[in-house]
Amino acid sequence: MSSTITTREYFQNVWDSLATTFAGMKITGKYLMQKPITVQYPDERLPIPERYRGIHYLEQEKCINCLACARACPIDCIEMDAIRHGKELEWVLFTLDYQKCMFCELCVYPCPKDCIHMGTEFAFVSYDRSEFNHDLLSYKGMSREARIRKREADIKKAEKEAAKAAAAAEKAAAEASEPESPEEPAS
């Protein structure tokens, strides 16, 4: 390691150090006189843009249980289950495991009804691991409107069955009451 320098170099070093230090201090001094840009979280918060990839929310009325989002997830963190009654769904389960979720938004794009979205909520704190299996449903079972629709559909179906049965019975009666039919065995 070379450690011998001339006197001229020594004083040049001293001058360079002082000059560049003062140049730097001029910059920091400028910011000393300004208001700091620190945002005192959690008292103050920055605005969150609308496209932010936060905790999911589901529009349950639109969902048709097609499992496209569950298939698109790279880590399989969506679990959903619903029982189909005719055209209506009875919801049993729609959970997202936030211990696995990596907030990649790949589940949002394939949805054919555009009903799963990612919101602006990002804080998810809990003392227990079981709470991270977040339930996205706003109600379990069937909604009131769905039940009304199902009942009306059942009634309509029952009416149609009854009408069909009545028509079949009439037809049978009409056939039976035909006079002098050729099938009657001759006496």
């Binding site: 070093n13 230090t21 140049a23 730097g24 910059i27 843009p49 790279p74 990649c104 938004e105 790949l106």
Partner: protein, 408 residues
């Protein structure tokens, strides 16, 4: 082969011979403990360390203050990314690509998407190409800001770190507006980009460019030409041009040694052949201004200059972007035809290469990544011996290693 896991043999323990008359001090007292034998100390610059830029373990052998050997041990952040690539579908692998070089995630997404698109042979719309270029260059600025800021922090300069992060916050806010995430974007996808820029985003990028040019001058005056920083980094960790080529270095480590090679200009991809032909930006090279050619200062200088060149590229893209679709003709269920491709792109750290092999299914057959940091870190074993212990920190910082990329 025994050299791989065991460090080389330590040199002989030295016994200092002290003549009899030196054993008595002028005051008449006798010295104790003069027959001390010294041997080299092997110390772990262990996986947890504030200055190794991640979980990297370096076995340093020192003789007092002088380092006599250094061996790098990797693998503490290995997450089997390449194996996972053989088990998830093409589009599902995209979030995993973010996570190797987490400081420049857009470039990773870009490399993977370009490799798969090369196998598929798909046409990317113009707006998507320009948006990709803007995002990749913005992320290059962000990554160099961290490299520069944390390098100052390793050396002991605390202020430039916060200034660099102030600009990086703005860059992350821009990315948050366009794709919703601040670090692992998953924005550049196979076939284009996921969503179009919101209204006003391009104007804000232009404002960022204007403000950044003033702040760049601040970084330059604060740290790059500061005499203390120069004294700590000049003539340290000199990589000669021959050594750089021999070790297969790429990126600022190669250009810091004066070799003029930039993948964006010499093996262009996306819009970069247009950009090079239009002469929009220059490739900054180390010139040995403050010491020798290829020392740590040259590499820092190259990174800092590259930030300005990225601004020029962004301005060019903003000038010629037009409306249009942002995603090409990609089926919903992606099945890539059989074939293989290797595409290397210019990451902020060097050449990031993706080798993708497909056998016609929904899942890749092989997805191999050539991480630039992994190849750049090999030179440490040659650079560290002979330096002081404090300089070894400066050398490790100047390689700008990100362990997520080294280990995947």
């Amino acid at each position: 082969m025994t050299e791989i896991n065991t460090p080389p043999e330590p040199p002989e323990a030295k016994t200092i011979e002290i003549p009899e008359k030196a054993r008595t001090l002028p005051s008449g007292e006798r010295e104790f403990m003069l027959d001390v034998s010294t041997s080299d100390l092997e110390v772990n610059m262990g996986p947890q360390h504030p200055a190794t830029h991640g979980v990297m373990r370096i076995l340093i052998r020192t003789d007092g203050e002088v380092v006599t050997g250094g061996q790098v041990h990797l693998g503490y952040l290995h997450r089997c990314a390449e194996k996972i690539g053989e088990n998830v579908e093409w589009l599902q692998y995209l979030p995993y690509t973010d996570r190797y070089d987490y400081l420049s995630a857009m470039n990773n997404n870009l490399g993977y998407s370009l490799a798969v698109e090369a196998v598929m042979g798909v046409e990317i719309p113009r707006r998507a190409t320009l948006l990709r270029t803007i995002c990749a260059e913005l992320n290059r600025i962000g990554s160099h800001l961290i490299a520069f800021g944390t390098y100052g922090l390793d050396i002991g300069a605390f202020t430039p770190f916060f200034y660099c992060f102030r600009e990086r916050e703005w860059m992350m806010a821009l990315f948050e507006k366009i794709c919703g995430a601040r670090l692992t974007y998953s924005y550049i996808r196979i076939g284009g980009v996921f969503n179009d820029a919101p209204v006003g985003w391009l104007k804000e990028v232009e404002r960022f460019c204007d403000v950044f040019e003033e702040k760049w001058q601040e970084y330059y005056d604060l740290l790059v030409v500061n005499h203390i920083f120069v004294q700590r980094t000049a003539k340290i960790g000199v990589i000669t041009p021959e050594m750089a080529v021999d070790y297969g270095l790429t990126g600022p480590m190669l250009r810091g040694s004066g070799i003029d090679f930039d993948l964006r200009r010499d093996m262009p991809y996306m819009a970069y052949d247009e950009i090079s032909k239009a002469g929009v930006y220059d490739v900054p090279l180390g010139r040995g201004e403050k010491g020798e050619l290829g020392d740590c200062w040259d590499r820092v200088y190259v990174r800092v200059q590259e930030m300005m060149e990225s601004i020029k590229i962004i301005r060019w893209c903003l000038g010629c972007i037009e409306d249009g679709p942002v995603i090409g003709d990609i089926p919903k269920v992606l099945k890539v035809p059989p074939g293989e491709a290797y595409v290397g792109i210019e990451n902020p750290r060097g050449e990031l290469g993706h080798y993708v092999a497909s056998d016609g299914g929904k899942v890749a057959k092989r997805c191999r990544v050539r991480g630039p940091s992994f190849c750049n870190v090999a030179v440490l074993e040659k650079l560290l011996p002979g330096t002081f212990l404090a300089d070894s920190v400066a050398i490790i910082g100047s390689t700008d290693v990100v362990i997520g990329e080294t280990d995947r």
